[in-house]
Symmetry: C2
Subunit: 415 residues, 2 copies
């Protein structure tokens, strides 16, 4: 029996789950501070697992803590269509980023249950651990592990800013699962997400068909210098690692401005130093920075400049620099057939839609490495995100949800 | 009975106290990490109080935690001559900075006891609380309070980086004394200190007659911006407080280089931000910076440039800046008569000596505001300080000690 294109979202049921989520890990007014593997994250996970059970899903947790809820297919031997996002947030996060994508997956399953539609392929919904990287660096570490990008031991050894490792905290909150991470066939991956940009909201377009991701390059850089007194130490005898990091972050920001006319961005995101005290020069620092551009060649050029800036910052501060980690994502990574499917479903459903790129990083980026993947964007007021003022409405999410639902069902049912 | 100029330091006895101190709050190899009001600071204080008692001193602790050991004078109604420095260190501190000056005061008392010499005026030795400012900002807060610069309540309310306030920690370690802070007549103040600069070591000169301090201006600056996503947020919509602070620190360093030919220094000393995470722009930061020059007018000009840099950094990062605190010290502050006395005693004792300025801040700077004050410098290997490689020997300290002892006795015995 076909799944009728007339089916629409039960927006109130979906929204009740969003509102329950908004009570867990409350941050600043209107926002959330639900850092990965915190007590609040555990409370949200527990609720999500409970909901999955109520929806008849078979729940498994993998060894990176990602939670999968599986709805059997008519031919359950086929690889599943995977739908999801993340339930963790930034320290000053909003109530929608990531969360809407996971709970859309749950709502999708409930919608299928409502009409008793069994898809040909199984459907799995997923909550990826630590997408944000707000407590454990780097971000998207669990989907990266699932896609074979990161070794599990390495993931478990990631330190939090507050002390315990990723592995310690998984164990502590009871989400160190026994299921191996990845290593299995996935038919395709869909992720619904608020746009985190102003385009849909400004143009009053209902659905964003995500064609590709901004090409992004990031780096975690360490500088080593020498402690000394801030008073008598002559300028040419200084090896101030704090200054080296500050010089890098300023240089990276300058790169962003140079490319801003064509939509380029560069970010001074994080700086830590030791001892980082008034009377003493710091002998250690770390900085995190990244560059992004819609054009992959331009992004590559920006990244080259960022790497040159590392050397220059170290030279100017007479410190040693070491690039501890680099990452890149984005580009023309989404599956053309899936992008076309999403666009077609938006048309069939009668929703206004437009193609647009993703500028943020998403778990979907890693999934492109192992299966056809695409994303669907919904409006986000003024493009504000990673801020407690992040805002959207159930009316704004519904069209994107409907497109997700019909695309996923079509994909799962295809012959 | 006069105190004979032939008396010299008991270097071994003095050194045994330095070595005992070097066992308390051990940091990196050869260094100390004895932060103010920590358990290690308490242990050092307890030992110092015990030593004071053994030397027959009447010990009092004031409400800012500073410890005074008093040796009665023949005319005990006269204001005391005060001698001291500090026993706290930086996080990567040395074994001599401050400590030598306090324990020289103790040794001076022991030397007077050896010959039963009672000075006309009382002599007090002092350990000032939190000279370094390595745990509670600003530095030199207890001597500043003693000199009427800071209100006691304000001092008690200073937060540590690790949570509790200055007042909490004074209470916890048992050094919240009942003696009022300052408000009494002090005849004069002497402070012996390692030079924290390379001059005496390089020129093989035994004693530094400190004529004045580098004029120094510092500021604690706060920036406020707005959190947002590091990805999609356009460059011209960013209000990254971390970047504002980084821009300030780079600009301040640039100022230092511009004046380095004439010995000017400018320091990017401290930067903290929130959330300070990879995926989000920070909406709050604080930076500490300072400028120093031997010429007061030049230092003033550097300070003006530093303040202009605050505004420019805020403008470039589209943040709000607020200068939370400023401080200044140094200049021609030491008492000419005491400086002459120190120089004369060095001559009488036959030690090589030279005039030189202090470039670091010291408790002595605040004491100049309430009594005639001077300092005596001893060599410091390669000028290295605020580092575990800080180094000197008992042979290098002895001449400075002898000059201190004879200067203090002459000052205390004068008619």
């Amino acid at each position: 029996m076909a799944f009728p294109i007339t089916r629409r979202m039960d927006a109130d049921r979906f929204w009740s789950t969003m509102e329950a989520s908004a009570q867990i890990g409350v941050g600043r007014e209107g926002g959330l501070s639900r850092l990965a593997l915190s007590d609040a994250d555990k409370a949200m996970r527990d609720l999500f697992v409970e909901w999955c059970g109520q929806a008849g899903l078979a729940v498994t947790v993998d060894a990176a803590g990602s939670i999968f809820g599986r709805r059997a297919g008519a031919d359950d031997s086929l690889p599943p269509v995977l739908v999801g996002s993340h339930l963790d947030t930034q320290a000053n996060g909003g109530r929608f980023d990531g969360i809407a994508g996971v709970l859309a997956g749950l709502e999708l399953v409930r919608a299928l249950n409502d009409v008793g539609h069994v898809t040909r392929r199984p459907i799995e919904i997923v909550n990826w651990t630590n997408e944000e990287g707000a407590r454990f660096s780097p971000p998207m570490v669990a989907s990266g592990c699932f896609a074979g990008q990161y070794a599990l031991d390495w993931v478990h050894a990631r330190p939090s800013d507050d002390g315990p490792t990723f592995g310690d905290e998984l164990k502590r909150i009871g989400y160190l699962g026994e299921t191996p991470v990845g290593g299995r066939s996935i038919d395709s991956y869909f992720e619904l997400h608020i746009e985190q940009g102003p385009v849909l909201d400004a143009e009053k377009v209902q659905v964003g068909v995500v064609t590709h991701g901004y090409a992004s390059y990031g780096a975690l850089v360490e500088f080593r210098g020498e402690t000394a007194h801030t008073g008598p130490t002559p300028m040419d005898k200084r090896h101030n690692a704090l200054l080296a990091a500050a010089r890098l972050l300023v240089a990276v920001d300058d790169i962003g401005w140079e490319y801003s006319a064509t939509g380029g961005k560069a970010t001074a995101a994080r700086l830590v130093a030791w001892p980082n005290k008034p009377g003493i020069l710091s002998d250690w620092s770390q900085a995190v920075c990244d560059v992004r551009h819609d054009d992959p060649d331009t992004a590559r050029a920006m990244a080259d400049r960022m790497h040159a800036a590392v050397t220059e910052a170290a030279t100017l501060a007479a410190c040693e620099a070491k690039i501890l980690d680099t990452w890149e994502w984005g580009g023309r990574i989404f599956d053309r057939a899936l992008v076309n499917l999403v666009r077609r479903k938006a048309q069939e459903l009668g929703y206004s839609h437009r193609d647009l790129p993703s500028q943020a990083g998403h778990d979907a980026y890693f999934m492109t490495r192992i299966c056809p993947t695409t994303m669907i964007f919904t409006p986000c007021k003024d493009g504000i995100t990673h801020n407690n003022a992040e805002f959207t409405t159930k009316e704004e999410i519904s069209p994107g949800f409907d497109v997700l639902m019909h695309s996923v069902v079509a994909q799962a049912d295809r012959g």
